[in-house]
Amino acid sequence: MGERGFLLVEVLLSLLLVAAVGALAVSFRAQAAAAEFAVHETTAVFLAQKRRALVLAGGAPVEASLEKNGSLFTVSSQKTSGQNGACAVLVRVCWQERGQARCVCLPVAVDAPR
C-alpha cells in the first residue's frame, strides 16, 4: 500500500493530551457551577427565613420577586388552616439557574393566637 500513518504511541499520546485538557476544563466548569449554586441556595434559604419571620409576625405578601447575587428569586408562601386556629405555612423560594428551575421549601407551623 505504501501509505504512511502515525504510530500507535503518537495517537495515544495525542488522545491523552486532549483528554487531560478536556477533563481540566470540565472540572473547572463544574466547580464554577457548584459555587454558583451554593451562593444561590444560601441566598434562597435566608430569603425563606425572612419570609418565615414575616409570617410568624402575622403578615406577609403572597408573592414577591427580587434580584440578589445575579439571579431573580421569587418568594411565595401558602397558608393551610389547621385545628383550633393553628395553621401551617409553606414558604417557597424559586430561581432559575443555567436554564433549570430551582426551589427551596421551608415549612412553618404557626400556633393559634393566645
Binding site: T42, T43, F46, Q49, A53, L54
Partner: protein, 172 residues
C-alpha cells in the same frame, strides 16, 4: 514530515518546516496558557466567593440566633444592640457593629471579630443594615466583598423575636 538527504547522508528538516512548526507551537502554547490562566483565575474567584459566602452566612446565623431570643433590640446606624434575658432580674446586652478601622471592614460581636482574615480571600463587609418591621421582626442585610476580585455576596434575611413585647425596652 519529509526528510531531506544532505550531502553527508544526515537526514534533517527544511528551514520552512522548522519555522512553521515553531510558529504552530507558539500559537498552541499561547492559546493553551491563556485558557489555563483564565481557568486558574476563575478557580481563585470561585474559592473567594465561597469564602465570602461562608463568612456572611456565619455572621447572619449568629445575628439571627441572638435576635430570635432577644427581649428587645436597639438599632443605630450599622450597629445593633441585642438584649437577652440573662436571669430573672438582669439582661445581657450583645452589640454587633461594623469595624471600619482596617482596610477590610469586619463585623464585630462584643468587640471580637466575627468575620475577617482568610487565606483564600480578602473579605470586607461593605454593608450591614438593620430595619425593625412590625411586631418584632428585624430585617438584616449584609454585603461581603472580595477586595481582590471585587466580587460581592449580599444576604437579606429577617428574624422574629420570640420573646418580643411592645413595652419591653421601656424599663431598660
Amino acid at each position: 514530515m519529509r526528510r531531506v538527504e544532505c550531502r553527508h547522508g544526515v537526514a534533517g528538516f527544511m528551514l520552512a518546516e522548522v519555522l512553521l512548526s515553531l510558529a504552530l507551537l507558539g500559537v498552541v502554547t499561547a492559546a493553551l496558557s491563556t485558557a489555563f490562566l483564565g481557568m486558574v483565575r476563575l478557580y481563585r474567584e470561585e474559592v473567594a466567593v465561597l469564602e465570602l459566602l461562608a463568612q456572611a452566612r456565619f455572621a447572619a446565623q449568629s445575628l439571627l440566633r441572638d435576635i430570635t431570643y432577644a427581649q428587645f433590640v436597639r438599632i443605630d446606624e450599622e450597629q445593633i444592640a441585642v438584649f437577652t434575658q440573662r436571669n430573672a432580674s438582669s439582661l445581657q446586652k450583645i452589640v454587633y457593629k461594623l469595624d471600619k478601622k482596617k482596610k477590610e471592614w469586619r463585623i464585630m460581636k462584643e468587640g471580637q471579630p466575627l468575620t475577617g482574615e482568610s487565606k483564600s480571600a480578602r473579605v470586607s463587609f461593605s454593608e450591614m443594615h438593620f430595619t425593625q418591621r412590625e411586631r418584632g421582626v428585624i430585617c438584616v442585610e449584609l454585603t461581603a466583598v472580595d477586595l481582590d476580585s471585587g466580587r460581592k455576596i449580599s444576604l437579606e434575611t429577617a428574624a422574629f423575636m420570640q420573646n418580643w413585647r411592645e413595652d419591653a425596652d421601656a424599663g431598660a
